[in-house]
Amino acid sequence: MIAKLAWRNIWFKPLNTLLSIILLSSSVAIITVLILLQKQFEEKFSSNIDGVDLVLGAQGSPMQLILSSVYHIDNPTGNISYDSAKVWMNHPFIEKAIPLAFGDNYRGFKIVGTNSDYLDKYKAKISKGKLFDKNFEVVVGSEVAQKLKLKIGDTFHGTHGDAKEGEVHEHIDYKITGIASPTGSVIDNLILSNIPSVWQMHGNHEDENPAHGEEGHVHKEDEHEHHEDDITLNEPNMEITAVLLKFRNKMGIVMWPRIIAQNTKMQAASPAIEVNRIFSLFGIGLKALEYLAYAIMLISGISIFIALYNRLKERKYEFALMRINGASRFQLLSLILIESLILCFVGFLFGTIFGRFALGFISNSAEDDFKMAFNPMEIVWEKESILLIATLVVGIIAALIPAIKAYQLNISKTLANA
């Protein structure tokens, strides 16, 4: 009955209530988005570097190397000689070395020359068809297949470079032989071929296309050697973009970056270190938003306080009356507390829902721009229950002074002055 009365009182002044709920839910929504975004962002970034201890690539910014070769969201730092990379790839310290060669894209999706180890690293299976075998056979990631409505047996022309609008390689067709299973990692948005495909695509018409001199795109160094047959991995003097290294001997992770920098024209960058740098940069923005959300929550607490306090003046006769009818002081106290708690709970509920809608929007645009999707339906129990408790604490604090005033109400004085 007290709860029912509290509910009625809340809706008796709908505008006050609306204001408090809007303020509360916006702060809860912002914090919910931050909680989900931070968790899923870190998960996404961390899961992609599982099993990659170091990345071998051309000299330049280590972060750029990691972003381009692990996450595929930046341009490559340049090319490295496959022959000199092989020396390190075959080193006894190494458990697994996955070579990557970038060259073309198809409608914005990168075509990456690699081998089957790359699929294994992301635990991707071939859900339909078979793995690429001959040159120009490709396996497409699940997202690519779905978005571009590709099926096995389809053929397409690659576009040179990263941009959709680049020059089209019309002389050779890629042929789809397989579609990879969804993994939730970068591989879903890639088209995979063997490495010689990339070399051959860019080898034959090198002279006609001076644009191929730009960094980051693999092509043949040696122009006078023309092949009628398909190029194989054994071709000398070729270039690749990067190598993902997994160590058998963990000593190498510490030693190699310096050794490689001193002795070769390459660099070895640690994804773990670079990802931590990204998180700490990203974290500053998140922190600022978090403070903003707390500020809004404080304001909503104050607005609830003012609403309850102002209503107290109008309602003191109501309270006196309830006391006359046998209500205890404690019942009045709990009436006001319940009113405030209902407000806060409703605000929290709307906030978590609005926050998830907002994350849905963010996810859509992030998917277009960075090929990174977030799941708005995930519930981060621990942090969200802390948020609920914090919201309710705001409600209790806001109601405290009005509730105590109602508790201490002098009935006789109130009625005598009526």
Binding site: R8, E318, A320, I324, N325, G326, S328
Partner: protein
């Protein structure tokens, strides 16, 4: 029934009250009259247990209410004392019927919905029961507060200037209803007033002047 003995009260040194002995049996009506500032409302609040006397004894149904703890007094008041005030106050967000039912729930923990409907019908308010109190006329509001005061069948019914804001027709209607209902529910009825219309109607009077 109600009985007081040697009741005194003071807010401060200037305003001190010594009240005459009061006695009112079940179904009887006692009118307390007096000019402003003579402590009429103070006496009513003392009888209702809203104020505690500095000296003396107030007993209702053989219970000395000044010896009860705050919590016990709240319960006792809810069950045994019905209060009708000069200005009717209501829970603004609840309907007429819900206001009356709330009074029964606060006092007994049970919702006497049927009884509330019967009382409202008796007070000619059947068609108003789902309206908000603010939508009623002053006379109708006064009758709702009578229904609310009677819902728990109190032993003592206290009315503070119940007719002063009403026109003649409504004033007599309310006075008749109070007399009739207090007999029906066997409650002692104490009316505090300076309304001369009531002085002519009820003969059992005590003047505080």
């Amino acid at each position: 029934m109600l009985q007081t003995k040697n009741v005194t009260f003071f807010y401060n040194k200037e305003t001190q009250f010594t009240f005459p002995e009061l006695k009112c049996n079940a179904s009887d009506v006692l009118l307390i009259t007096g000019n402003s500032g003579k402590g009429k409302t103070t006496l009513l609040h003392l009888l209702a247990g809203l104020l505690r006397p500095k000296n003396g004894e107030i007993s209702i149904e053989n219970t000395n209410i000044s010896s009860l703890s705050e919590k016990k007094l709240d319960q006792f008041r809810g069950k045994n004392i019905g209060l009708i005030l000069q200005q009717s106050h209501f829970i603004a967000s609840m309907s007429v019927l819900e206001n009356v039912v709330l009074a029964s729930w606060l006092a007994t923990g049970k919702k006497a919905i049927l009884k509330a409907e019967k009382l409202l019908a008796e007070l000619d308010l059947e068609n108003q029961k789902h309206k908000l109190p603010s939508q009623l006329s002053i006379g109708q509001q006064q009758r709702v507060s009578i229904a609310r005061a009677l819902i728990n069948e109190p032993k003592l019914l206290l009315a503070d200037e119940p007719t002063s804001s009403l026109d003649d027709e409504n004033a007599f209607k309310v006075a008749d209803l109070l007399e009739k209902l207090s007999k029906e529910y066997k409650a002692a009825l104490v009316i505090v007033t300076h309304d001369s219309r009531l002085k002519n109607k009820f003969t059992n009077q005590i003047n505080l002047n």
